[in-house]
C-alpha cells in the first residue's frame, strides 16, 4: 500500500486502473462513459500516442472534454479523420483494433455480456438499450476491456441474454462460431478488483484486488466461482496529480463524479 493517503473515490480508482491498461502506440475503440475517461486519461499520461477510435467515425482525436455521446462533436476534436461508421467498423473487422473498451449491465463466467433484457427474452422484465456497438467491439477487437459494477445480480453464472460475445461456452468456442481468431475479453474492472481469464478454461480469474478489498468481498459479490490465484496483488490508487487530470477531463463530473 502506498504510504501517501489520497482521498480518491471508487470511480476515480476505476478510471485510473482502466486507463493504465492501455498501451502507448496501440489502438482502442471506445464506448460511452468511464471507458472514455480512462482512454482520455491514458492519452494525457503514459500513452500520448494512443490511437483512439469512436464507432460513429472519429479517428485519432485529441478529445478536449468528456463527450456525452460516442458521436458528438467532442469525439472528433483535432482528429486525424472524421470518417464513417462503416470505416471504423470495417477497420476493426480487418484487424486494426488492439483494444475495445465497454461498459456492461451483466456478465458471466466466460465474459459474455448482456445489455439487452433482464429476464427471458420472450417474457422480459426489464428492457435495456441492446447491443449498440458492443457486439461489434466484443466480436471484432483483439482484446476487450470491460468496466462495470460488480454484485451478485451482475456477476451471474449465465447471462439472461448474450448480447456481446465473451468466450461463449469456453476455450475455442469463439473461433468455432466463426469469430475472428484470438479475440475476446481481456480484463474486467469492477469496484472490487481486476479480473482476467484462465488460459485453459477461459473462465474468469481474479488478478488484482483494489486496496482495502478482501477475497470475501469478491466472493460475496459474484454468483459464480471466480478462480482465485495463490498470490494476490493490489492495484495502485490514483495520485493527487492523476485525480486532477480526471477532473480536467470531466469538469462537470458527468461520469467521474464531483
Amino acid at each position: 500500500m502506498a504510504e501517501k493517503e489520497t482521498n480518491y473515490t471508487q470511480t476515480e480508482l476505476l478510471a485510473t486502473v482502466a486507463g493504465r491498461l492501455l498501451e502507448d502506440k496501440k489502438s482502442v475503440f471506445v464506448g460511452t462513459g468511464l471507458p472514455m475517461i480512462a482512454t482520455m486519461f491514458a492519452q494525457r499520461t503514459h500513452a500520448p500516442k494512443l490511437l483512439i477510435f469512436f464507432e460513429a467515425g472519429s479517428m485519432g482525436p485529441q478529445v478536449p472534454v468528456l463527450p456525452i455521446s460516442v458521436g458528438d462533436s467532442r469525439t472528433f476534436y483535432k482528429a486525424i479523420a472524421a470518417s464513417s461508421m462503416h470505416d471504423s467498423m470495417s477497420l476493426t473487422q480487418a484487424g486494426y483494433m488492439d483494444y475495445g473498451f465497454l461498459g456492461a449491465a451483466q456478465i458471466d463466467i466466460y465474459g459474455n455480456i448482456n445489455t439487452t433484457v433482464i429476464g427471458p427474452y420472450d417474457n422480459f422484465k426489464v428492457r435495456l438499450p441492446g447491443s449498440g456497438g458492443a457486439n461489434d467491439v466484443g466480436s471484432l477487437c483483439q482484446k476487450t476491456i470491460v468496466i462495470m459494477r460488480q454484485d451478485k445480480l451482475r456477476f451471474v453464472e449465465k447471462v439472461d441474454f448474450i448480447t456481446t460475445p465473451g468466450y461463449l461456452s469456453g476455450k475455442g468456442a469463439r473461433e468455432e462460431a466463426g469469430l475472428p481468431e484470438g479475440g475476446g475479453p481481456y480484463r474486467i474492472i469492477t469496484q472490487l478488483g481486476v479480473y482476467g481469464f484462465d488460459d485453459k478454461t477461459k473462465k474468469m480469474k481474479l488478478l488484482f484486488l483494489h486496496p482495502g478489498v478482501n477475497l470475501e468481498k469478491v466472493k460475496e459479490n459474484s454468483s459464480f466461482d471466480i478462480i482465485i490465484p495463490d498470490k494476490i496483488e493490489f492495484t495502485t490508487p490514483p495520485t493527487e496529480k492523476e485525480r486532477k487530470i480526471l477532473h480536467e477531463i470531466d469538469p462537470t463530473g458527468m461520469a467521474i463524479g464531483k
Binding site: G33, S69, S83, S84, S139, M254
Partner: protein
C-alpha cells in the same frame, strides 16, 4: 451454401434486388429539379401510416428533429422504426404512439444521461414491440448491402450470440474460408430523414464532421427527406464536388430549417441542449408529463421558429453555439438529478 443458423427476428425492409432496381428505375427521378418544400408537405407526402423509417445522424447528433416533431404533429401511426443508434428520435416517436414496432441496435437509452423513461415504459408494457435485434455495425452493413444492390453482406460480428438468434441474419459456411460467416440482409427503409449543414435546392448535400451512416443510408432509403441548416447555391457545390456526400438524385424533398436538429448536437454549429433534453427526461417519467410536453412543444406549435422561441430563443441558441465552440460551460440539469438518485 450450407445454412448453419437462422435468426428468428422479423426481416424488415428487405426487397429482392431486382424488385428494388425496378422500383428505383420507375420512381427515382434523375432530373436536376428544385425540391424545396415544407416539412409539413414532405411528411404528408412521404410518411404513411405503417411506413418503415430511419433517421440519419447518430443518437442525439445531427438528427432532423423538425421532421420528428412534424410526424408527431400529424399523428402518424404504426410506423416501424430503425433503432440504429436511436435515442431522442425513437423515444419521442414511441412516446407519442407514432411508432409501434422497432428493430433495435440501440434504443430506450440516452447514453450517459441514463435510460429513456417513456419508451422503456411503453416497451415494457408491450405497447411497442421489438421485432428484431442487431448491432450498430450490423445495421450499418444492412444499409451497405442495400446501397450496393445486393441481397446481403457477409460479416464477422454477431456470431455465437443471442443478438444473432433474435436478428434477421443468417449464418452460413463461407465457401472460401470454410468458416461460419454471418449474412446480414439488405435493408431499404421506406423513408430516410436527414439533417445536414448545407445543401442546394436540388438536394446535393455536404456534411461537416463524421458522416456516420449517412452515406450508405441515403443510398439505401427509397425516399429521402432532407432538412438543412442552410440552402446554398449549386455553384458552391460544383466548386468543391469532393465535399458532396449525398447527390441530388437520392433526395426527394429539401427544406431549410435553421437549428432544425435542436435539442441535438449539430457539429461545428451548436451543442446538445441538455436543459431541454433534461426537461423531456423529467417530464417523460409519467404519461401525463409526456402529454404535457407534446402539447407545449409540438401540438400547439405552428412553425419551427415558434418552437425555437419556446426553448429560449436567440439567447439560448447563442449559448448552445458557445458550448459547441468550448466557449461556455455545459449546463446539464439531469446530472444533478442523476447524482441524487
Amino acid at each position: 451454401m450450407e445454412v448453419l443458423q437462422e435468426g428468428k427476428g422479423e426481416l424488415i425492409g428487405w426487397h429482392d434486388p431486382d424488385e428494388n432496381r425496378k422500383w428505383i428505375l420507375e420512381n427515382k427521378s434523375r432530373d436536376l429539379k428544385d425540391k424545396r418544400t415544407t416539412v409539413r408537405e414532405a411528411v404528408e407526402k412521404y410518411v404513411k401510416n405503417g411506413s418503415f423509417i430511419a433517421m440519419g445522424g447518430f443518437g442525439h447528433i445531427r438528427v432532423s428533429m423538425a421532421v420528428i416533431y412534424e410526424i408527431i404533429r400529424q399523428k402518424k401511426r404504426n410506423l416501424i422504426f430503425a433503432g440504429k443508434t436511436a435515442v431522442h428520435d425513437s423515444d419521442l416517436l414511441i412516446a407519442s404512439d407514432c411508432v409501434s414496432k422497432i428493430e433495435v441496435a440501440y434504443a430506450f437509452g440516452h447514453e450517459l444521461r441514463g435510460l429513456s423513461p417513456a419508451s422503456r415504459r411503453l416497451v415494457e408494457e408491450r405497447k411497442c414491440k421489438v421485432i428484431a435485434e442487431i448491432s450498430n455495425a450490423g445495421y450499418q452493413w444492412r444499409f451497405l448491402a442495400a446501397m450496393m444492390g445486393v441481397p446481403f453482406i457477409p460479416t464477422r460480428n454477431l456470431l455465437g450470440t443471442d443478438t444473432l438468434k433474435q436478428s434477421s441474419a443468417k449464418v452460413v459456411k463461407d465457401p472460401f474460408s470454410k468458416k461460419p460467416i454471418c449474412l446480414v440482409p439488405a435493408c431499404y427503409p421506406d423513408v430516410v430523414v436527414m439533417h445536414v449543414p448545407r445543401c442546394d435546392m436540388y438536394g446535393n448535400a455536404q456534411i461537416d464532421g463524421i458522416i456516420i451512416e449517412d452515406f450508405e443510408l441515403s443510398r439505401a432509403g427509397r425516399r429521402v427527406i432532407m432538412t438543412t441548416e442552410k440552402i446554398i447555391d449549386n455553384d458552391e457545390i460544383r466548386e468543391k464536388p469532393w465535399l458532396t456526400v449525398i447527390p441530388f438524385f437520392l433526395v426527394d424533398a429539401v427544406i431549410e430549417v435553421p437549428y432544425g436538429s435542436h435539442p441535438c448536437n449539430m457539429p461545428y454549429k451548436y451543442y446538445f441542449d441538455e436543459e431541454h433534453i433534461g426537461e423531456w427526461l423529467e417530464m417523460s417519467r409519467t404519461p401525463e408529463g409526456v402529454n404535457k410536453y407534446f402539447e407545449k412543444y409540438v401540438y400547439s406549435v405552428e412553425k419551427f421558429e415558434d418552437y425555437l422561441e419556446l426553448i429560449g430563443g436567440q439567447k439560448k441558441l447563442k449559448y448552445l453555439e458557445d458550448v459547441e465552440h468550448l466557449k461556455a460551460k455545459l449546463k446539464a440539469p439531469w446530472l444533478e438529478r442523476k447524482r441524487k438518485r
